[in-house]
């Protein structure tokens, strides 16, 4: 087999690998905004086993984003996008909430991930 052919095949193989890696590394992106005193959207449908990338933007305050069911939280910085990648393992409901006290209405600033099978 000629060297040029070998290189071409190697190139195709590498491309397949890269494509597979790219497929695995490209979770569904979900944009969420945090603004006193609500998240938008605040009910988000997910599938168990499906990787997602949350892109969360606070508009007016250093809100928190806390998912107690998986014990993960992050501080949001107004004007910046904070990313969080995760894969829900099982069907059910995962709650999220603002856990940095942000004023009169903070207690109702929350939402849910509704995870289907």
């Amino acid at each position: 087999m000629r060297r040029r052919t070998l290189l071409a095949l190697a190139g195709v193989g590498a491309g397949l690998v890269l494509q597979r890696v790219a497929a695995q590394a490209a979770p569904r992106e979900i944009e969420i905004t945090a603004q006193r005193f609500h998240f938008t959207p605040n009910r988000i449908a997910l599938k168990a086993g499906e990787p997602v990338l949350l892109k969360i933007r606070a508009l007016d305050f250093a809100h928190g984003f806390y998912i107690p069911d998986i014990d993960r939280r992050m501080d949001l910085i107004p004007g910046r996008v904070v990313e969080f990648a995760f894969t829900p393992a099982n069907p059910g409901t995962l709650h999220f909430l603002c856990d940095n006290f942000c004023g009169d209405g903070h207690e109702g600033m929350d939402g849910v991930f509704e995870v289907s099978a």
């Binding site: 250093a62 928190g64 806390y66 107690p68 069911d69 501080d75 709650h95 909430l97 856990d99 940095n100 006290f101 942000c102 004023g103 009169d104 207690e107 109702g108 929350d110």
Partner: protein, 295 residues
């Protein structure tokens, strides 16, 4: 009327009475150093809304009821959310000043103030410190150690490393067998994390307290009586003086329970705590004792 009579009457009148911690401190049993204190919590002065049509009248009722006690308590502690939150720093100070005026009839007794997140989170305790003093501190009373913690000035509901270090140093000075009462606003343990009813670094505080044999925690925040135990440490939350909240985890959100015109002030009240040697007795004092006795 003797203090013991007062407590018995409180129990007879519908106030739930439970015996709390401090067990095992035999050295204090039978000593003359018995005393009681009053815990008031979550007055939310400045709140306006349907959950309490008598928002300006409720705290004065509690003040009058405490003043009507036959024997005054040794001290009174307010475990946070003295005022309802506001974005306006001037209004925050106005509410705090007015709160002090409303409770002025209690003057003459020692009062310990603590902040809640409604008082302190938005300005990291600045106004509270101006008007009430330190946000965390320690004192002793008749052989019992008291420690007031601040888990609200940090918007992230943490005590923070500085306060934890202070706590560790203070606890190191105490006899681990001596009774220790801790006041906080938020629960130190994860009561309902999805409602933010916890303290982010509360486990570290509890770990520090575990070395002490007789620890009882009194807190507020959840606007209802609740009793829980972590190891040998007991945690007792108090009622609010503005609106009750749902029982832990029983609603979608921790939002105020609607005012019931047929039973006004239901769920609101304050508490007396008698420290009697080796045990602590809690007497709940509903603002509408008659309605709650009927229920």
């Amino acid at each position: 009327m003797q203090r013991r009579d007062f407590l018995q009457l409180a129990a007879f009148g519908g106030g739930a009475v439970s015996i709390a911690g401090l067990a095992g401190c035999a050295s204090l049993k039978g000593t003359p150093d018995e005393f009681y204190f009053v815990q008031l919590s979550d007055a939310h002065w400045g709140f306006q809304g349907a959950p309490n049509p008598d928002a300006r009248g409720t705290l004065p009722k509690a003040v009058a009821a405490v003043n009507d006690l036959a024997e005054p308590p040794d001290f009174i502690v307010f475990t946070g959310d003295l005022t309802h939150t506001t974005d306006d720093p001037t209004e925050r100070r106005r509410r705090m000043t007015e709160f002090k005026q409303v409770i002025a009839p209690l003057n003459g007794r020692t009062i310990h103030f603590m902040p809640g997140e409604h008082d302190a989170a938005l300005d990291r305790g600045a106004a509270f410190k101006e008007l009430f003093g330190d946000t965390y501190y320690r004192f002793d009373h008749k052989g019992v150690h008291f420690m007031a913690l601040d888990n609200v000035s940090d918007r992230g509901t943490s005590l923070g490393p500085e306060q934890l270090e202070w706590m560790k140093a203070e606890l190191a000075k105490l006899d681990p067998k001596a009774p220790l009462v801790v006041f906080t606003h938020r629960p130190l343990f994860p009561l309902v994390p999805k409602w933010d009813w916890h303290t982010r670094d509360g486990a570290q505080a509890i770990e520090l307290l575990m070395a002490h044999e007789n620890v009882t925690v009194f807190y507020g925040h959840i606007h209802q009586e609740h009793h829980f135990q972590t190891g040998h440490i007991e945690h007792h939350s108090a009622r609010s003086l503005m609106f009750p909240l749902p029982a832990p985890g029983t609603a979608e959100k921790p939002l105020p329970i609607a005012w019931d015109p047929a039973a006004p002030y239901r769920g609101l009240g304050w508490r007396g705590v008698e420290v009697e040697g080796a045990k602590t007795s809690i007497s709940e004092h509903p603002l509408n004792r008659a309605a709650e006795a009927k229920a």
